[in-house]
């Protein structure tokens, strides 16, 4: 097999690098949490990098992204600075939110990451709003809102589907279906088998893709974004994925069968993509380029973590500043 072409190769390797960056970041967060350097309620996106990276890879800088409570990957995929993100998780003044937000309340407006949320389904109506503003501005801006399968049973989710459809909002609903909401499998939350069925009800075009296949998510998002930019309204993408860790750091995930974990190891989005790249001759047989990418981002993340932990704490006065805009 021949290689796909230099520019295409580079784009593919960028996807790989971005996934590795997120993986390395999240593993570092886990490590810092375990060692007591980061506190809070942390929901990591390890194993779900494919959907965040695939979807954000085709967005413009001025497009909007909103995340769920598991949003580190969403922010990084949209281009957030890992150092400011890490500093935020560590509660430092140099963090994106000056230590006021933390893991579930990340905002990196400079790159179009509008907000995460600690409230399940909480950012979906907000996404309607950024889509509405984008529509009014008339520059073709699109919003992608990420949420989990658990959010699919929330009232605001359904109200949002209806409104987005009714007003043809330039919005991509991106459901990362990892099969669980906290400790409970999706089948115990709904009889609906595919979350796309909800979209069908509201006449929103939808597709279910293999969420751990970064290219499949990219392709589906590309179509959805094209539709949205051209005034065709919202789309719904259900990306099937898996959360190999507990719901939050510290959760032992005893509620899941071990076999289930084995099955998903093979479907890891990064391992899987590397295999594909080898087959396509983008990577050589020993995947040495991938190991270099991995080593580089891990080194970068080490520096990011060090800088974050060296950064100053927020000043006491900041506690009550910014409650209202002045």
């Amino acid at each position: 097999m021949t290689s796909i072409g230099a520019a295409e190769d580079r784009a593919l390797l960028d996807l790989l690098e971005r996934m590795w960056l997120i993986r390395a970041f999240e593993e570092k967060v886990s490590d810092l949490y375990a060692r007591g350097h980061i506190s809070g309620l942390l929901h990591l996106g390890i194993g779900q990098e494919g959907s965040a990276v695939g979807a954000c890879s085709i967005l413009r800088d001025d497009d909007y992204v909103l995340g769920s409570h598991r949003a580190h990957a969403h922010a990084l995929a949209k281009g957030a600075d890992p150092e400011r993100l890490m500093a935020e998780l560590a509660g430092r003044s140099t963090g994106y939110c000056a230590g006021k937000g933390g893991s579930m309340h990340l905002v990196a407006l400079e790159c179009g990451f509008v907000t995460a949320t600690g409230v399940v389904a909480g950012s979906i109506p907000l996404g309607l709003g950024t889509a509405l503003a984008g529509q009014q501005a008339g520059m073709g801006q699109v919003t992608v809102v990420f949420f989990g399968d658990g959010a699919g049973q929330a009232g605001p989710f359904h109200e949002s589907l209806n409104l987005a459809s009714l007003w043809k909002l330039p919005l991509v609903f991106l459901c990362e279906n990892n099969g669980y909401a906290e400790f409970t499998p999706l089948s115990a939350h709904t009889n609906i088998e595919r979350l796309t069925h909800y979209a069908d009800t509201y006449q929103i075009p939808s597709t279910t893709v293999e969420g751990n296949d970064v290219l499949a998510v990219q392709a589906a998002t590309e179509q959805a974004v094209e539709l949205a930019r051209s005034g065709g309204g919202p789309s719904f993408i259900e990306a099937l994925t898996h959360r190999p860790r507990g719901h939050y750091e510290g959760d032992q995930a005893k509620y899941r069968e071990l076999s289930e974990r084995e099955e998903w190891k093979e479907k890891d989005p990064i391992a899987r993509f590397e295999m594909y790249l080898e087959q396509q001759n983008v990577l050589s047989e020993d995947a040495s380029e991938a190991r270099t990418i991995e080593a580089d981002v891990r080194q970068r993340i080490e520096a990011v973590a060090e800088a974050a932990l060296d950064a100053p704490w927020p000043a006491p006065e900041s506690l009550t500043s910014q409650v209202l805009a002045s």
């Binding site: 579930m104 409230v119 605001p156 400790f183 509620y255």
Partner: protein, 331 residues
């Protein structure tokens, strides 16, 4: 008496009530698996999944369902995972649960218990740390309970479940793993009866939920400098045992109210108002409030620590209170 942790006391009360009353059902997210903190661990095994129901993340519908079921014979206990998410169920709780008995001219009853946990701990940030009790005190038709000890958690929960009105049962996450003596037999605790946690003579401190252990620690510290404070735990905020507070204030002449919620619009203001309306002449100085600053809860550990009112703030308020005298001269 045996020691039980606050959270285990809650579980024991749930279990004993469910054994005694078949109409009790539990509805909530992950409750069949114990939930994130283990309050309901084992109950689904004991009582089955028709009585302990794992719900989707649909707080509004679940609250409404519980209210509806309570109207016609069930005695539901809804668990909202964090009090912050009760906002999603406000319509059913405030517009329906609280008012149906009244609006129906007494035809309907709403024997509903809503268990929620909240408060500050662990750097969870602005969506998982709030204390919202004051919102609910403002709504006629709701009872609001805030236990500070394991034994109260058990006894008050029993009363909440047996009550024919909607009861909001506010647990504090930071108290879950604190232990306390709980009797072999858990007796229901009658609502509207405050507990005097420590007798004192110089000032009265009314402390809510987690502020109770903080006030007791403050009392120890103040005692070292010769100040004796009385610590009152109202236990239920609606109904509020004003009489016990007044009786104490008439002896001490000074009152500090401490809660973890934001001071502005908090229940400290309400208690202060009620006390001064009837006992103005007995007060030697203004009623002081201890609460959180007017801001959301920041996630950074240093800001969170600054935000949360605690022992220092109570000691300080008591000392400020003691510095007042009626004629304006330093006491």
């Amino acid at each position: 008496m045996p020691e039980l942790r606050y959270i285990d006391a809650i579980r024991r009360a749930l279990q004993e009530e469910m054994e005694n009353d078949e109409s009790i059902v539990i509805l909530g997210e992950d409750v069949t698996l114990g939930g994130p903190f283990g309050a309901t661990t084992g109950l689904a095994d004991k009582f089955g999944v028709t009585r302990v129901r794992n719900t989707p993340i649909s707080e509004g519908a679940v609250m409404g369902m519980a209210v509806g079921a309570s109207l016609v014979g069930l005695r539901p206990i809804v668990e909202i995972m964090f009090v912050d998410f009760i906002t999603l169920a406000m319509d059913q709780l405030v517009n329906h649960a609280a008012k149906l008995h009244y609006m129906s001219g007494g035809q309907l009853r709403v024997p509903l218990t809503v268990r929620v946990q909240g408060g500050i701990s662990g750097g969870y940030g602005a969506h998982h740390s709030q204390s919202l009790e004051a919102w609910f005190l403002h709504v006629p038709g709701l009872k609001v309970v805030a236990p500070a000890t394991a034994s109260d958690a058990a006894g008050l929960l029993k009363s909440a479940i047996r009550d024919d009105n909607p009861v909001l049962f506010l647990e504090h996450r930071a108290l879950y793993w604190t232990g306390g003596e709980v009797g072999e037999v858990i007796e229901p605790i009658i609502f509207g009866r405050a507990a005097i946690r420590r007798a004192g003579t110089d000032a009265t401190v009314v402390a809510v939920s987690r502020m109770v252990p903080a006030a007791l620690e403050a009392a120890e510290r103040l005692e070292e400098s010769g100040t004796s404070i009385e610590v009152i735990d109202p236990r239920t905020l609606a109904p509020l045992d004003l009489d016990t507070i007044l009786e104490s204030v008439r002896r001490t002449g000074r009152l500090v109210v401490a809660h973890e919620a934001v001071t502005v619009g908090g229940i400290g203001g309400e208690i202060a108002a009620q006390v001064q309306e009837v006992a103005f002449a007995d007060l030697t100085g203004p009623v002081l409030r201890v609460g959180a600053p007017f801001a959301p809860v920041a996630s950074s550990p240093v800001l969170e620590k600054l935000f949360a009112p605690g022992v220092d703030a109570i000691v300080d308020a008591v000392q400020r209170s003691l510095a007042f005298s009626r004629d304006g001269a330093p006491a």
